[in-house]
């Protein structure tokens, strides 16, 4: 690409803008900026309500504050994985295969994995505070860990290489297979754990009773994390588009170079 001297502010190439332009971000639009601001506001509210305004739980003391983060991350993780499955189906089962669905599936899965990891960490810390154990082998936790590993596998499948269409087809098939696996695993783990009805120290199924301000804080958490999820997916799939484009451009210019080389060689 030739280096032309242009006025930095008018340069249509995004990476070179100066001043406020640099902060504008390649993948930003008016909508995404609005969404981002709403997200930040929501998260600030969450921190305030979660850490300061909401009262201590009678039974569980302060540890319930962790739930204001843990439950939203879990919710987002499940939402993300569900959306990946949905997008995989949208890609696979339409006549005209649109790579946009594949990108959304990939973006959503990546964010889902991150939030699932956070869910496992915050959950372990909460469990340690409340029940004295970091982990318990019950159906819900085990399925959660399983989901985590499965979607790490999904991300690995996406990186197997090949054309964008090949990646899309492979990933979408795997994504749907994952949806098939999950009920099977959950069901078998459920049956398995029901064999072990001994009283355990930790009863992870004992749900916390919340009301009033506590419930509101949780609500704030879920809403703001949902906004955060959409904002992240929006940007991530745009970046995926850029990455694909970058990869293609690389290939194209490499091919063009080779072609001109061989031209020169045959002419020279």
């Amino acid at each position: 690409m030739s280096a032309t001297l242009t006025n930095a502010e008018n340069d249509p190439r995004l990476g070179t803008r100066s001043g406020f332009g640099r902060w504008a971000g390649v993948t930003s639009t008016g909508f995404s900026r609005g969404l981002g601001i709403a997200t930040i506001v929501g998260l600030v509210w969450l921190v305030l309500f979660g850490l300061v305004f909401s009262p201590q739980d009678i039974v569980q003391d302060s540890s319930v504050r962790i739930l204001y983060v843990h439950v939203p991350t879990a919710w987002v993780a499940y939402l993300a994985f569900g959306f990946t499955a949905f997008s995989s189906a949208m890609y696979l089962f339409r006549k005209k295969k649109s790579l946009a669905w594949d990108r959304v599936a990939g973006a959503s899965a990546e964010i889902g994995v991150m939030f699932m990891g956070l869910t496992l960490i915050t959950g372990a810390l909460w469990g340690r505070l409340t029940w004295g154990v970091f982990w318990a082998w019950d159906a819900r936790l085990t399925t959660t860990a399983f989901l985590f590993v499965t979607y790490i596998g999904y991300l690995a499948v996406r990186r197997l290489g090949g054309s964008h269409q090949a990646r899309a087809k492979r990933s979408s098939i795997f994504g749907l297979l994952a949806v098939l696996e999950i009920p099977l695993v959950h069901f078998s783990v459920l049956l398995w754990r029901s064999l072990h009805q001994e009283a355990s120290v930790a009863n992870p199924n004992g749900d916390v009773k919340m009301d009033g301000l506590m419930l509101f804080s949780l609500f704030v958490g879920i809403i703001s994390f949902s906004l955060l999820y959409f904002w992240l997916v929006l940007h991530r799939q745009r970046v995926l588009y850029l990455e694909d484009r970058y990869e293609d451009a690389d290939l194209d210019s490499a091919l063009a170079e080779r072609r001109s080389e061989s031209q020169a060689a045959s002419n020279g």
Partner: protein
């Protein structure tokens, strides 16, 4: 580590992770979108 430590760890880890991810994302956007013209992009 007492209760408060655990709680702040949770909030901290979560927010830090999100911030790190977002900044890495934007860095990558700048890098791969360097030569892109605004009109070419489907979201503008």
């Amino acid at each position: 580590m007492d209760d408060a430590g655990f709680i702040f760890a949770c909030y901290g880890i979560t927010l830090a992770a999100v911030l790190l991810y977002a900044s890495a994302l934007f860095r990558r956007a700048r890098r791969t979108g360097r030569s892109a013209k605004r009109e070419d992009l489907p979201w503008t």
